[in-house]
Every structure is written in structure tokens, then in C-alpha cells.
Amino acid sequence: MSRKLLAASGIAVYAFLYLPLVVVIAYSFNNSKLNAEWVGFTWHWYRVLLSDDIMLKAAGNSLLIALTASLASTVLGTMAGYALYRYKLKLLPVLVMAPLAIPEILVGVSLLIFFVAINLTLGLLSIMLSHIAFCVGFVAIVVRSRLSGMDESLPEAARDLGATPFQAFRLVTLPLIAPGIIAGALLAFTLSIDDFVITFFTAGVGASTLPLQIYSMIKIAVTPEVNAISTLLMLLTLFLIVVASRLSPDSIRGR
């Protein structure tokens, strides 16, 4: 293939990837109720957003869920990642990978049936429990990849110098893999705050999150307020991803 043709098609694909997002961001500043013609610059839709109580409540829920889910899944995921690295296990690798491999909708509906079967009222708690379930695997993978990049002789040296296994883990291994753990936590936070499909099935009528709120606005009445919240959410995700990729460059590739 000639170089010029290759470069041209590459640029075209990049344009395809970015143009839609640029349009969403641009219209969030457009002084018109329609996402059609450029009328003029305004902050109006951001002011509408800040006075929208339902949206703010949803944002609060999203933050609470993402914080809880990322904290819990980081603890469980770090344990899983360490176990995958340290021991030859049969069940855990399958359990970690399976929820990531099957279509999300199936995870969502099976959790819905499960919560109803155990009589748990759908709401914040059911969403948190579901988010932890799908975040554990991602954290485990990030932590495991950080561990395999670690020099194995370091914890061994600590053991030779008289440290107990727990001391060797806490004082040597843990500080070495800390960037991987933080990257995993940020990844889990991002996945949780962005999740739509699994939340959609496990939320019930009681609790709403940002993605659920965006969905109902898209379905019922589209105003550039959606563009404004989208823009803010993109900024937040971008920030988290940049921080996470600084900490663990390999972890962000190929979710």
C-alpha cells in the first residue's frame, strides 16, 4: 500500500472517531434549543444543568456508587490479582475473565433475577453490588500485570533477611505494586461511573445515576443540557484515564 493512501485513510478514520464527540461538545455551548444550527456562544446549558435537581441527585448517586464500588473492587481485585500471580489456580482465572467476556446485557438480566429472588429491593445497594462484580476482574488484571513486571527477588530477599510472609508483602511487594492498585481503582471508578447496561437492569425505580438520567433525557426530550453533562463527564473520564495511564501505562490498553 502506498504511504500517501495509508496516511489519508488513517486521518479519515481519526476524523470519524473524533468528529461526533466534537459536535457534542460544540453544541453544549450553542445558544439554541436545537442541535442543528450554530447560533452563538452561551453558558446557558451549564447553568440549566446546575439548577437541575434531578440531574444533581443522579450525579450524587453516581459518585457514591463509583466510590463504594471502586473501593470494594480494589480490595477484592488486588487479592484476586495477587492470587493469580502467586498461585496456580483453576477456578479464579475463569471467574475473573468470564464476566468480562460475556455480553453485558446477560450480566445485567441475571443480576436482576438474582436480586429479585433474594428479595433485595432494587436501588443503590443492588447497583453497588453489581458494579463491584464487574470491576473486580478489571482491577485483578491491572494488578496482575503490575506484579508480573515486579522483580521477584525483592520479596524473597526480604524473607531471607527474616521478614514474615506478611511483612514481606506489606513492606516490599505492596509499595512496589501500589501504582498498579491505584490505576486499578481509577479504572474501576471510571467503569462504574460510566456503566449504563448493568445499571439499567439493576437500578429498579428507586435510584437513578448519570448515565440512566442521560438515557431518559435522550429518549424523552433532547436539549443541549445533555451535551453539557456529556462534556463534563468526558472531562472527568479523560482526567481519570490520564492519571491512571501515568501510573500504569499498560493497564489502559484494551479494556
Binding site: M1, S2, L5, L6, A7, S9, G10, V13, Y14, F16, L17, Y18, P20, L21, V24, Y27, L34, N35, A36, E37, M79, A80, A83, R86, Y87, L89, L92, L95, V96, I102, P103, I105, L106, V107, V109, S110, L112, I113, F114, V116, A117, I132, A133, V136, A140, T190, D194, F196, P211, I214, Y215, I218, K219, S230, L233, T237, L238, S245, R253, G254
Partner: protein, 296 residues
């Protein structure tokens, strides 16, 4: 003994959590597909008690319903067609991009890869919403297209709420999944192979089809699997962009769970979808494995 204790202490909690919140729900869903629907939605009891004692209250009705009306099989076939078309166009668009990145100077590669990943970290719904704006009747894109069609006397076409909108957006959301494995493969190719082919008189086109392309097949297979399978279960894209003509199997599952409230049928559909996806992936893996063996 002490070592085993540590092993259970570390792996126990995550294993337990995933069993409770992944394995058990999946099993309950499999069981649900054989149950009757409850009177007010949900599920009827598994055990029925009457004069002769308790007996199981299970049925194959949901599966029979699936095969009794061709409309359901057709929805599966339609979903497969959407997934195939999406995968094909993703491959077509991703290949040149992955090749471009792999052949760029190494200091730019990471940045170019990051630029592919970045848009896909934006919220899924936002990416769908973006196409809703772009394909809307008042958008510049629609206006330009209809203006162009108007020259040939073809009436204005509607883009939003059509199968076209669904497939276009599916390509958009799945494209990075094709670029990444392709790039990971192409980056490893030894440039000396292309030089050798050139020395032996192969032109650019021959070098691509007889050296680069065959070597990249593992990357292509990985990309196809990553793009194809998730598309089968997607419901948000057709839900927002597809209108009534563009619906896929995921929409029917969602409808059975949230609107029709026929959970057994919804569960049966979910299981058929999983089995279908597994057969396709397994078949493709087998095919790819045999191909590779045959090549040697």
C-alpha cells in the same frame, strides 16, 4: 499447610464474591428459562404443592415459544447480519489505521494508539447520542447528503431511526476493538521480510497480500472476536437510533424483562444468545486453528 492457608485467605474472598454475584445469578437465569411466568410478572414458584405432595413446576414452554414463531429466529438472523456487517467495516477501516500506526516512527506510536482509545473512554450513551445529533433531520450531514441525492432526483432520505444508523454507530463504538489487536500484531512484523520480498521482485501490492496480510491473520481473528461478540448483545444503540425497524435481539430481551415482564422467555432468549455466541466463537477458533495447522 500454612501455604495452603494463605492461598485460601487471599483467593477466598474474590472467589466467594464472584460465585455469589456472577455464578449463582447465571444459574438462576438458566433455571428461570424453564419456569413459568408469575401472575404479575416475575416467576412462578419452582415447587407446586397439592394433594399428592410437592412437585416441580418446570416447563419447556419458553423454548417452544421461541421456535414456534419465525419472528424470533429472524431477529437472531438479523442481529447476526448486523454483527457481520459491523465486523466487516471495522476490519476495513481499522486495517489501514493499524498499519499506519505500526509503520510510524516509534516515538509517535504510543500517542497514535492513545488517540484511538481516547474516544472510547467517553460514555457509551454519549457516543450514541453524538450520532443522534449527526444523523438528525436538521443536521448538516443529513442536509448535505440529501442535497447530493437531490441532484439525481432521489427524494430526501431519513437517516435517524433506521438500520443504517444502527450499523454506523455499531461500527463507531466497536472500531477501537479491531484497531488494537491488529496494531499489536502488525507492530511485531520484522521489516526485513518486506525488504527480502522487494529484493526478490515483489511490488507493493504483492508485498502486502503475500507477506503482511498472511502474517496478520492472528490479529484479524482476535479483532473479529472482540468486535463480533459484544455486538450480539447490544441493545442501547438500536434502542436509541434504530426506531422500530432497527431492533436487535438485545431489545427483545430488554423488553421481556422490563416491559412484557415475561422473565422465563427473556431468560431463554439470553441463553440462546449465549449458546449462539459460543458456537460461533468456538467454530471460528476451530477454523482458525485448522487453517494455521494447514499452513505449516
Amino acid at each position: 499447610m500454612a501455604k495452603n492457608f494463605g492461598k485460601w485467605l487471599i483467593s477466598g474472598p474474590p472467589v466467594l464474591y464472584l460465585i455469589v454475584f456472577f455464578v449463582i445469578p447465571t444459574c438462576i437465569m438458566v433455571l428461570a428459562s424453564f419456569r413459568y411466568a408469575g401472575e404479575y410478572g416475575g416467576l412462578a414458584p419452582v415447587l407446586l404443592r397439592d394433594a399428592s405432595g410437592a412437585h416441580l413446576n418446570l416447563t419447556l414452554e419458553s423454548y417452544q415459544e421461541f421456535f414456534s414463531d419465525f419472528i424470533y429466529s429472524w431477529l437472531f438472523i438479523k442481529t447476526l447480519i448486523y454483527a457481520l456487517v459491523t465486523t466487516f467495516f471495522c476490519l476495513l477501516m481499522a486495517y489501514p489505521l493499524a498499519l499506519l500506526i505500526a509503520r510510524s516512527a516509534s516515538k509517535y506510536r504510543d500517542l497514535l494508539v492513545l488517540l484511538v482509545i481516547l474516544p472510547f473512554w467517553s460514555n457509551f450513551l454519549i457516543r450514541i447520542y453524538a450520532w443522534m445529533i449527526l444523523l438528525g433531520p436538521q443536521s448538516a450531514f443529513s442536509a448535505a447528503l440529501n442535497g447530493f441525492l437531490g441532484i439525481f432526483g432521489v427524494g430526501p432520505v431519513r437517516l435517524l431511526f433506521t438500520p443504517f444508523a444502527v450499523v454506523l454507530c455499531l461500527i463507531y463504538v466497536q472500531l477501537p476493538f479491531m484497531v488494537l489487536p491488529l496494531y499489536a500484531n502488525l507492530e511485531k512484523h520484522d521489516p526485513a521480510l518486506l525488504d527480502a520480498a522487494q529484493d526478490l521482485g515483489a511490488n507493493g501490492w504483492q508485498r502486502f497480500w503475500r507477506v503482511t496480510f498472511p502474517l496478520s491473520l492472528p490479529g484479524i481473528y482476535a479483532g473479529i472476536a472482540l468486535v463480533f461478540v459484544p455486538v450480539l448483545g447490544i441493545f442501547a444503540v438500536p434502542d436509541i437510533l434504530g426506531g422500530t425497524r432497527g431492533i436487535m435481539i438485545g431489545n427483545l430481551i430488554k423488553q421481556e424483562f422490563l416491559e412484557a415482564r415475561d422473565w422465563p422467555f427473556g431468560s431463554a432468549l439470553s441463553i440462546m444468545l449465549t449458546i449462539g455466541a459460543m458456537i460461533i466463537v468456538g467454530g471460528a477458533a476451530l477454523f482458525a486453528g485448522r487453517r494455521r495447522k494447514g499452513d505449516v
